[in-house]
């Protein structure tokens, strides 16, 4: 039985929304990072399913690039969080309020 493309779109949209809600609601920098990863994985799923749907490999290649860029981003982000933790002794983003308008 073939799963229609709409289901994939729905699933990845739901995943994406979970990620967005996580970023907006959670207050721990590391969990925020994980939520961003959920968003990117939702995009990966969408890309891969569209790629199969169109019978075109470009989408899957895009997924590779997203994965690599996400890894680079995580490396930089975790390094920043470690640096922050050394200075502030916390990763709660509510406490970083030195800069405000």
């Amino acid at each position: 039985m073939k799963v229609p493309i709409e289901h994939y779109i729905l699933l990845s949209t739901v995943l994406f929304c979970i990620g967005v809600m996580g970023v907006l609601l959670r207050r721990n920098a590391i969990i925020l990072l994980m939520c961003v990863e959920i968003m990117l994985n939702a995009v990966n799923l969408l890309m891969a399913s569209f790629s199969t749907y169109h019978g075109d490999a470009a989408g899957q290649i895009f997924v590779f690039f997203i994965m690599v860029v996400a890894a680079a981003e995580v490396a930089v982000g975790l390094a920043l969080i470690v640096m922050i933790y050394r200075n502030f002794k916390t990763t709660d983003i509510n406490l970083f309020n030195k800069l405000k308008w």
């Binding site: 995009v43 997203i66 640096m83 800069l99």
Partner: protein, 462 residues
């Protein structure tokens, strides 16, 4: 392509120089390398599309009407701004003495990304360009390790930038789903042929891409990170963010909407008009209430993003030229202002009281660049605004009126700084200005005056 290879090789060489304790020659090597690359970029006459990398090194049929991306205008602007900021870094990187070479290398990598972001023919390259540009920036924004506001700015920029990337990618995925291709030409054909078809997925894709890109350039309603990040990051990095990154972000945005999605202009034009008006009002009004010059500049950069977004809304054929002129004027003025900021090392307005007595040249540089940002004739900023407003006026008269009113507000806070610098009493100690900074300020001032008197030079180039 040559330019891009040269830039990345230069970046790798710079990175390696950091390992071999050759700190003294890093700056000369980077500057000479960038000058050489600028020469290559100026001779970029051979337009040819690079199929393998999806880079756009030519004028394609549909892009004839939109010839901003001939790599002469925006890429040249990116290279020149990068060069000036590199020279400025002679003093600007003093806070991170041990990592000078690494910082230069990161800046060069970021410039690679910027060049890719303004010359893509494939949406994959759009994504990669923006990411290659942003990831080194996250590090650079947080590079002052022992300063808590720099730390905070780095983390904020990282989290929000990654968030925006998610939106951009989701949008690109939906566009791919609707059109079946990442190629810019095919997407253009899709929009051209299916004007009356209501493709829900495609439209959602446009909305998400819009959110992602607008986030990256820091326009309302996604501007809130801009002032925090700009004022927290080290000044030299802020100058890089507000010039090179802004040019690249705008290049990407304008190319995507006014080039690729040009036929659907009626559908998204109004949205951009509203975004632009909101950005101009918010940026200018909030800038009035700032007590720190750096934060004021951050808000004013939000406001300038608003002016530039007008052209996206207008979606006309003359637009790119006006944009290049405006971006050139804005970048030169910003770099000169930040040069003053870096030299004094102070960020609050009070520290600029009586700057004219402490160092005449700094005060003159500050005055001319702020006047240009305010749009006072005969400087480049005025010419930029003039061409911008005339191209937009046909379609959105109300938008131009909003823009003129908000520029009037902006004159107030720019003049406030200038008056403080010349007529208020402050500390009297003379400020030593390094030769490199004098050179940068001089080039910027001369550029601003020359562009104000002969804007045709840039207009022809673009």
């Amino acid at each position: 392509m040559k330019l891009l290879i040269g830039l990345s090789v230069l970046a790798v060489i710079t990175m390696m120089m950091g390992l071999f304790k050759s700190r003294k020659i890093v700056l000369p090597v980077v500057v000479l390398g960038l000058l050489g690359l600028l020469y290559i970029a100026s001779g970029y006459g051979c337009y040819c599309e690079d199929k393998m990398f999806g880079m756009y090194i030519n004028e394609h049929q549909f892009l004839k009407m939109f010839d901003i991306n001939k790599n002469s205008g925006l890429v040249g602007l990116i290279m020149i701004s990068g060069l000036l900021i590199t020279i400025l870094a002679h003093k600007g990187f003093n806070y991170t003495e041990n990592h000078r070479a690494d910082m230069h290398a990161l800046m060069l990598f970021s410039m690679c990304g910027a060049v890719i972001a303004v010359s893509y023919t494939n949406l994959l390259m759009l994504f990669l360009g923006i990411e290659i540009m942003s990831i080194p920036l996250y590090i650079m924004a947080g590079s002052n390790k022992h300063d808590s506001s720099s730390n905070e700015s780095g983390l904020k920029y990282f989290l929000l930038g990654a968030f925006a990337t998610g939106f951009l990618l989701f949008g690109l995925a939906l566009i791919y789903g609707a059109t079946g291709s990442f190629n810019v030409n095919q997407i253009y054909n899709y929009t051209h042929n299916q004007l009356n078809v209501s493709g829900g997925i495609f439209k959602m894709g446009i909305v998400f891409t819009m959110v992602g890109l607008v986030f990256k350039i820091g326009a309302a309603p996604f501007h809130f990170w801009t002032p925090d990040v700009y004022s927290g990051a080290p000044s030299i990095i802020t100058s890089f963010m507000s010039t090179v990154v802004k040019i690249a972000g705008f290049g990407a945005l304008i190319f995507f909407f006014n080039g690729v999605l040009h036929p659907m202009g009626a559908e998204w034009g109004k949205t951009f008009a509203i975004i632009s008006a909101a950005t101009m009002i918010l940026g200018n009004v909030t800038a009035v209430y700032q007590i720190s010059l750096k934060r004021m500049l951050a808000w004013s950069s939000v406001a300038h993003a608003g002016y530039l977004l007008m052209t996206v809304a207008a979606n006309g054929n003359n637009v790119p030229k006006a944009v290049v002129l405006y971006l050139a004027a804005y970048s030169l003025a910003s770099i000169a202002t930040f040069a003053v900021l870096i030299t004094t090392g102070k960020e609050n307005f009070e520290d600029y009281n009586g700057l004219g007595k402490r160092n005449k040249w700094l005060a003159i540089g500050l005055t001319i660049s702020l006047l240009s940002l305010a749009g006072v004739p005969p400087l480049a900023g005025f010419m930029g605004k003039y061409y911008l407003f005339t191209t937009v006026y046909e379609q959105y008269p109300w938008l131009v009126i909003v823009a003129i009113c908000t520029s009037a507000i902006s004159i107030y806070y720019y003049l406030k700084t200038i008056i403080a610098a010349w007529f208020k009493k402050g500390s009297e100690d003379a400020i030593q200005v390094p030769l490199s900074t004098v050179f940068v300020i001089l080039v910027c001032i001369l550029g601003l005056i020359a562009l104000g008197l002969m804007p045709q030079v840039v207009l022809d180039l673009a």
